[in-house]
C-alpha cells in the first residue's frame, strides 16, 4: 500500500470513528454547550487518527521513511481527517442546529400536505426566536456578555476569530 492511500485510509477510518462517537454521545449535549462537545469529539477522533496512522506507517518496510517524514504523514492524515469532520459539522450538524431555512422547511413539513400560511409560519418561528437562540449561544460561548441590560462583544480568541481575521483580510484586499 502506498503512503498516499495509507494517509487517506487512516483519515477515512478515523472519520468513521468520529461519526460513531458523534451519533453515540452528541445526543447528551445541551444546546448551550454544543461547541465544547463538538471540539471534544473532534479531538477524540484526532487522537484515534494519530495512533492509527502512526501504527500503519510503522509497518511500512523499514529504512524507506525517517521519523520526521512519518510525523509529517501523520500531520497530513490529521489535516484530512479534520477537514472531513469540520465539513460534516458544517453540512449536517450546523444546518440542523442553526439553519433558518431548514427550520422553516421543518415547520412547513410538519403540517404537510395541507400546508401553512406565511402568517401562521411567522407565528411559529419569528425574528424574536432567531435572536434569542443566537444570543443564548453567544452568551454561553463567551463571545458576547451582558452588562446593565446591554449586550457587548467580549474580545476572545477562538476558532471563529481565525475565520473573522481571514474574512476581514479578504474584505480589505478584494472588496
Amino acid at each position: 500500500m502506498s503512503v498516499d492511500s495509507l494517509i487517506v485510509n487512516s483519515a477515512v477510518v478515523s472519520f468513521g470513528f468520529y461519526l460513531f462517537l458523534y451519533f453515540l454521545f452528541f445526543r447528551f449535549a445541551s444546546s448551550k454547550k454544543i461547541f465544547p462537545w463538538l471540539m471534544g469529539l473532534l479531538v477524540a477522533g484526532g487522537v484515534f487518527n494519530a495512533v492509527t496512522s502512526f501504527i500503519l506507517l510503522s509497518r511500512l518496510p523499514g529504512g524507506v521513511w525517517g521519523i520526521g517524514e512519518k510525523i509529517l504523514f501523520v500531520l497530513v492524515a490529521e489535516f484530512l481527517y479534520g477537514l472531513a469532520a469540520v465539513l460534516f459539522i458544517l453540512c449536517f450538524c450546523g444546518p440542523n442546529e442553526t439553519s433558518v431555512r431548514i427550520r422553516l422547511l421543518y415547520e412547513i413539513g410538519k403540517v404537510s400536505p395541507q400546508g401553512i400560511t406565511i402568517h401562521a409560519l411567522l407565528m411559529r418561528y419569528s425574528d424574536q426566536e432567531i435572536l434569542e437562540r443566537r444570543l443564548e449561544r453567544l452568551l454561553a460561548s463567551g463571545e458576547v456578555y451582558q452588562e446593565c441590560g446591554q449586550y457587548r462583544i467580549k474580545p476572545v480568541f477562538n476558532f471563529f476569530s481565525f475565520r473573522d481575521l481571514v474574512a476581514s483580510l479578504i474584505n480589505h484586499y478584494f472588496k
Binding site: 451519533f23 489535516f79 477537514l83 439553519s99 400546508g115 401553512i116 402568517h119 432567531i130
Partner: protein, 174 residues
Amino acid sequence: MFSLLISLGCLFAAIVMHLFLCRFISHSSVRQASFFCFVGIFFFVYMGADSVYFRNMISSSLPSFSLWALRLFSSGAYLYFLCHVLYYLFFVTADVYSPTQRILNFLKEQDGLSYEELLSRTKQANFILPRIEDLQKRSWIFLEKDVCRTTPKGNLILHCLYWYQKLSGRPIGG
C-alpha cells in the same frame, strides 16, 4: 506528497481567482462563480500538473481508466475538494448570509446594544421572508394562495433530516 503540494497551489489559485471575479459579478452569482473557479482550476491545472507525477511514478503499469480514477481519489484531490467546500461554507456562505454573523456585526458596529435595539435591527435585517423565497427558488417548497407546501424535493430533505435526527437524537434548532 507532490499531489498534495499541487492541490494546495491550485487551491490558492482558485480562491484568488474567485475573489478577483467577485469584484465584477452580482451578489447572487458569488456561489456559482466559486463552483466554476474550483472545477475549472481542478481540471485544467491540477489534473494537468498531477499527470506529470503519475506518468513518472506508476502510469506504465495501469490502464488509463484506473489511472484517472486513482488521480481523482488521490489525497491531493480529496484535500482540494474538502478545502473548497470548507472555503465555500466558512467564508462565502457564512460571511454573506449567516444571521449569527449579522448579529455579531450589529454589536461590532455599535458597542453595547439593548435587547430591544437588537430585536429591532434583526427585524430590519429581515431574515425569514428572503429565505422563504430562496426555498421556493430551490424548489423545496411552493406557495399557492399564500399557503406554503413542501415539494417532493423538500420532502426528500425532510426525510434525510428525520433520519439524521433519529440517529443523532438532536431536536431541530433554528
